[in-house]
Amino acid sequence: MKVKFLPNLAQHFLFVILALALWEWGARTGVIDQSFVGSPQGIAYFTLNNFFNVRLWGDLGWTMLSVSLSFALGSAAAIAMGLAFVTWPRFEAFCDPYVSALNVLPRIAMVPLFILWFGLGIGSKIAMGFSLTFFIVLSSTVAGMRGVSQDHVTLTRTLGATSQQLFFWVTLPGAVPVLFSGLRLGLIYAFLGVVGAEVIASERGLGQQLSYLASTFAIDGVWSLLFDLALVGVLLMKLMNWLERRLLHWQ
């Protein structure tokens, strides 16, 4: 006999309501300690108040500005470097040990240095986001350009294409699918890097607000901001998906 399940959306709705109700019940009866885990009602309250707070939007803008700048600068630098690697393999071979060493270094450990060099403002956040985005986009740029169909290159060469034509008409569009998956990951990591650096030390930003709330035991606020960050992350992904569909409609 076939068991009938509720529609997907209803299942999730039911699950979340039940979990929140259990949490709220636990918090009210004292089964779980509210000062450590907060309560759904408190979180809802904070979120609603915070929504009308100018500071939230200012901090959000600050974080997004850092993310955008570090992503843009990191990707542009990585694509240029990737192009240089593909054009001059000997240069790539020379750089390889340094790139590999920097790539395995836990970049978040460089935040103290970045703060020393670039201050508590946006500079150190961009440096952090950049350092993560750069290596991800670099490897996908190289892989994408190396993976371009040799048939396409051969055909275009027999037609007598200039190296510029070959790059803009064949190599670049051919590399876009792989490059794009790197850009998508690069954006997530720029977000991670920026917020991570803000949590450690910052004048402004969502990460800074989160860190402040945690240090003052405003647990409901911490949850609320985590929820905001997740929402921003999802929206960034949606944006990338939309862009990908536009750019790669031919796939």
Binding site: S149, D151, H152, T154, L155, T156, R157, T158, L159, G160, A161, Q165, W169, V170, P173, G174, V176, W250, Q251
Partner: protein, 254 residues
Amino acid sequence: MINIQNLNLSFDGVNNVLSAIEFNLRSGEFVAIAGPSGCGKTTLLNLCAGLVQVPDGQKITVAGQAPALGSPQVAYMLARDSLFPWLTAIENAAFGLKVRGLDAAEATDRASEMLKRVGLGGYENTLPKALSHGMRQRVALARTFAMPSPLLLMDEPFGALDAQTKLQLQDMLLQLCQEHERSVLFVTHDLAEAVALADRVIIMSSRPGRVIADVKVPLSRPRSIRQLQTNDQFHHTYAEVWRHLEEGWTHHEG
């Protein structure tokens, strides 16, 4: 169109890839090169296209000049359709003209004409992913014939197609060559295809590639591939070509 005299080639200076190759391709002629895989027939074609550097002191002339990449005299076609998946059928068909600097509107006009000629009118704005293998290779034919290059270098252009589609496209190629008066150097490992299409079949031995035989195909033009299947001369020539190819094997083993 092509003149090769006593050509020897080795990539590492030790193992010969091609040995004492000698042949002529006259204007308007359709010459097929057949031979076992690895015999250097594609290398020979790539030498003519300028994709492989001609060694010093070797004599090859293509359309009266040393082979060079991008010569407007030459159009090259590969085994796989090598259409760009991000371009529509008409953009693909116009690609060769575009690279060679023709005005965009004129290139599109010519490409559109050629697409109609290969039976793909109405598919101008279709992306390659939505076309069958046979249709894609027809777009590649349109791209090749849209260019006015008098010499075509073809590397097993129908090698990846199923038998029926192959016959259709062979017929189409013959018609197009007839209409556009092209000289063709056609590499294939399919002997029936070589005999059906060409005026002469050059048979090469396995590595190092030598010319074993240069067989004249006594079939008149215009030809129809389907009618050839019941033509005695076709089968006779096919058997002769086969015999030469087998000779190549025994020589090699001996």
